[in-house]
């Protein structure tokens, strides 16, 4: 693979960066580098956990759940990292997903948790 097809992804809010190939989605690129800059959910565009905002750079996306990314939000650079292919270096912000807290989880507060 030529160097042109590898892009640098800077995650500003986490002060981290990782490399991602053009044929990889951002989340897969991140996981392959053992980085922990974006939260990982279903990896299929459905759950919303890896919701990010892309601040600079060019990219393409696969179809994403409109429950998490509306057309208007997509215009404003919001996306699910599991569905984004980089076309240039990107600057992004992660942690744009707000999870509702269930009592199932509240009951679990005192227990050890793996992330």
């Amino acid at each position: 693979m030529s160097d042109q097809s590898i892009h640098q992804i800077r995650v500003l809010n986490r002060d981290q960066s990782f490399e991602c190939a053009e044929d990889q989605v951002l989340l897969v690129g991140m996981e392959r580098h053992n980085a922990a800059a974006i939260s990982v959910g279903c990896r299929g565009g459905g759950c919303g956990v890896c919701r990010i905002r892309i601040l600079a750079g060019e990219y393409e996306t696969k179809r994403m759940s409109k429950a998490h990314i509306s057309d208007a939000e997509q215009q404003r650079g919001y996306a699910l990292a599991c569905r984004v292919f980089p076309r240039t270096d990107l600057e992004i912000e992660s942690d744009h997903y707000q999870a509702p807290e269930s009592s199932y989880q509240q009951a679990a507060v005192a227990q050890p948790t793996v992330k």
Binding site: R43, G44, G46, C47, S65, A67, Y104, A107, A108, Q111
Partner: protein, 307 residues
Amino acid sequence: MRKGVMRPGHIQIRVLDVEEALKHYRDLIGLIEVERDAQGRVYLKGWTEVDKFSVVLREADEPGMDFVGYKVLDNQTLEKLQGELVEHGCNVEEIPAGELNGCGRRIRFDSPTGHMFEIYAEKEQTGKWGVGNVNPEAWPRGLKGMKATRFDHCLLYGPNIKGTLDLFRDVLGFELAEQVIDPEGTRIAQFLTVGMKAHDVAFIDHPEPGKFHHASFILDTWEDVLRAADLISMEDVSLDIGPTRHGLTHGKTIYFFDPSGNRSEVFCDGDYHYPDHEPVTWKAEQLGKAIFYHDRVLNDRFLTVLT
């Protein structure tokens, strides 16, 4: 008290791309593709299921679950339960025969957890796939992937699981087989059965209504669960957790995601339930062990990732 509901009959799942979804449900899980309808929905079933289909895939903008259907004994039971659902206060809608290919009239109703359910009495019986009903062979040749034998149950998240228990127990005749109780005595998870299985449907308390946690398909053996895990790695499929065992129901299991982010489970074995059994209770203080019996710690993704 049983009310004539026999079994889970079908689930309609929303996917972002039907062709990608087929690679998951048909080629990986090993369901049989039955047919497609005029709306572009794809019908599938596990090979041991005698009715025409049990899984329907519909392409949509938002992944998740449209509805789950339960088959009842006969049309008389259907009529009676329709009346009782109305009396109970559900929003009840009648779906004409044929709206799903090969399925009779369906009575659709909502639950306090914000999900849509249906009951129906008639569906075309095409028999088990690849084996007859007289002197049948053990299994058919030509099964794919994990070779799942049937659609077993689903787990749903939403508010007011108590109201949904009242509906399923009092109107539909399901029984509470297993539960999780928090220190204040509130039930935060419930596993309901309408036969001898540990669960035909399960609910977990959650503020957002109508959420889908997983659809589950049954395999024959633990060896088959390990083989499913091998296939998940070979195909680079998004893994959630497993292979492992649950404390709840004691099933041996693995969880993974379809290409639209809907969670799937394949599992084998587990507890059984008779009508005179008291519910099995797990205390929320032991929730980690209740969910994953070996790890004994909570897995954040398993609890929070939903469609």
